[in-house]
């Protein structure tokens, strides 16, 4: 489809006997954010490196901005920006010098590269630090400079490989807002992350990968729906009334409520007035309640349901981390 800025079909890549990608398919519509979600070693970085022309796939095909990543690699490089978990900036150059160098390597004129660098430094709130070597920057400032370097040539497609790994919450939020700004301006973003809240917030569609394969795909809501809708949690005043509460709520639940201590939980079909209905039923049955809440499943729940392990935890016997640079 021509509306897709990124199209990946049957992508395969092995490192020796380790199969980092075993036939991965996904696509990202132009102007959208695709979240590539998975634990360390799932194959996210390998996929990004192939799409950014840094690595050749063993099999399958990939097109970015209408160009084949292998055949048209040279032309493609003028249309992509890459920012990653390494924050690849030259520590001994200042912020200004880093961005001017990148601009000149995109073959912008010196004056254009300089103007663009000033513009980006201002936008990323790095103007005050622009004349200091990047080694004096905080982690958040380096990430911002790295992201600015990826944006120098206004690329229509942006690859962000775990852009907020290791950042403090404030810097993360600031980076998210910047990314949202780029997307609003029409940029297509492929974002890899192991943080579910990040994918939840930024991604229009999410592809969950594990052990080199796609295990689920959809919008955040679709993925959550796959493991059931919302869950009603009721905390009772008295654990002894649990049985009465269960029978009072049974009719409105998808399956029988479970009881744990004073808490009665059950999956429910979402509809307006549901909490009021639950309160009425419990009140009619004479059950006293301390607290009542609707719990929407998080992507964490999705991930655990799909893979049997939490997203951020690397299970034992996992593939070696493919992000390693040198042999």
């Amino acid at each position: 489809m021509t509306d897709d800025a990124i199209v990946v079909e049957g992508l395969e890549k092995s490192y020796g006997s380790v199969r980092a990608l075993r036939g991965v398919d996904f696509a990202a519509r132009t102007g959208s954010v695709l979240g590539l979600l998975g634990p360390n070693g799932a194959g996210k970085t390998t996929a990004v490196r192939i799409l950014a022309t840094l690595l050749e796939a063993d099999g399958g095909s990939a097109r970015v901005a209408g160009l084949d990543v292998k055949r048209d690699a040279a032309a493609l490089r003028a249309k992509i920006g890459l920012a990653g978990q390494y924050a690849a900036v030259d520590e001994n150059l200042t912020g200004t010098e880093n961005l001017e160098m990148v601009g000149q390597l995109y073959h912008m004129s010196r004056a254009d590269a300089r103007a663009r660098a000033q513009d980006l430094l201002e936008r990323f709130e790095l103007t005050d630090a622009s004349k200091r070597p990047a080694k004096t920057y905080s982690g958040g400032m380096r990430r911002r400079l790295d992201l600015a370097a990826a944006l120098v040539f206004r690329p229509p497609v942006l690859f962000l490989d775990e852009p907020t790994t290791g950042l403090d919450p404030r810097s993360r939020l600031a980076l998210w807002e910047t990314i949202e700004g780029r997307v609003a301006a029409g940029t297509t973003v492929l974002l890899t992350t192991q943080y579910l809240d990040e994918a939840d917030r930024l991604a229009d569609r999410i592809v969950v990968i594990d052990h080199g394969g796609v295990i689920a795909e959809g919008t955040s809501d679709e993925l959550k729906a796959q493991i059931g809708g919302e869950r009603l949690d009721v905390v009772l005043e008295d654990a002894g009334e649990a049985e009465r509460a269960v029978s009072a709520l049974a009719e409105m639940c998808i399956e029988g409520p479970s009881v744990e201590g004073r808490t009665v939980s059950a999956p429910v079909h979402t509809h307006t007035g549901m909490i009021a209905e639950a309160v009425r039923r419990l009140d009619a049955a004479g059950v006293g309640i301390d607290d009542i809440s609707l719990h929407r499943p998080t992507l964490d729940d999705v991930f655990i349901a799909l893979t049997g392990h939490a997203a951020a935890v690397e299970p034992s016997g996992e593939l070696p981390v493919v992000e390693e640079v040198s042999a």
Partner: protein
């Protein structure tokens, strides 16, 4: 722009970047200025009195050799810089840009030439201060010597590029450089005449390209018999470039494609 013009422009951008970094890395700046000065002073004044350098004052014998050693090691900054770029992920940034693939390496080796010119100025200054003087050398011979030195430095930049690309950290590059290549400069006529060495070592020293180049420099600057040393030195440099530049480029492709 044609691809050659692009390669040239990218090379200059990256060479400029490499040079801008130098004043901000005090350890490197010391390596290029104070270290050669120390070597000259140590050898001239500490060992010089005990070394039999034949018909020459030791400072005259030493300077061509020590300049050869310093310039050959000028490319060391390339080994450090490249391994750092790989380690820090800058190579990924460069490879994702629509720039010449060769420029990362040609930019490095080119900036080394500029740094070697700086080293030469420092070495000449300390040499002349310590009493060095050209003997029977025409202006053409002096210039030819400088050209040979810069070419040797350029050839060694490619060797060090390969060292840097095989090293996972700058520290590794450092130890490879100083355990494998540094001793080579001592087993040669850089510091003492090879004829004073015991059998075995002497034959090794005579076959050592550092001896060939040092003797060539002495024939150009001190008027010693040239034999085949001068043109053999140029051959050595071109052979080293012809062997190590393709090896470094091939290694760069592999490292960058991880």
């Amino acid at each position: 722009m044609s691809s050659l013009a692009l390669t040239l422009s990218d090379t200059l951008v990256l060479a400029r970047r490499n040079l801008m970094r130098i004043p901000r890395q005090p350890d490197l700046l010391i390596a290029y200025t104070i270290q050669p000065v120390m070597f000259v002073l140590l050898f001239v004044y500490v060992f010089g009195g005990a070394i039999d350098s034949g018909p020459f004052d030791y400072v005259d014998f030493l300077m061509p050799g020590i300049i050869v050693q310093s310039i050959a090691f000028g490319g060391f900054v390339t080994a450090l810089g490249l391994s750092e770029d790989v380690q820090k992920g800058l190579i990924d940034r460069f490879r994702s840009l629509p720039m010449s693939r060769a420029a990362v390496l040609t930019g490095r080796t080119f900036s080394d030439v500029v740094l070697n010119c700086l080293s030469l100025v420092v070495l000449f200054a300390v040499g002349f201060a310590a009493g060095f003087g050209f003997i029977d050398a025409t202006a053409g011979e002096i210039v030819l010597g400088i050209v040979l030195l810069l070419l040797l430095g350029y050839a060694f930049s490619w060797i060090f590029a390969l060292v840097g690309l095989f090293s996972s950290t700058p520290e590794t590059a450092n130890s490879i450089g100083f355990t494998l290549i540094f001793p080579l400069t001592f087993a040669s006529s850089v510091f003492v005449p090879a004829s004073t060495m015991p059998d075995g070592l002497r034959q090794f020293a005579e076959a050592n390209p550092f001896t060939t180049v040092s003797d060539a420099m002495r024939s150009l600057w001190l008027g010693t018999p040239a034999h085949t040393d001068v043109w053999m030195s140029f051959v050595w440099c071109f052979v080293l470039i012809a062997v190590f530049a393709p090896l470094a480029v091939a290694r760069y492709r592999r490292v960058a494609a991880k």
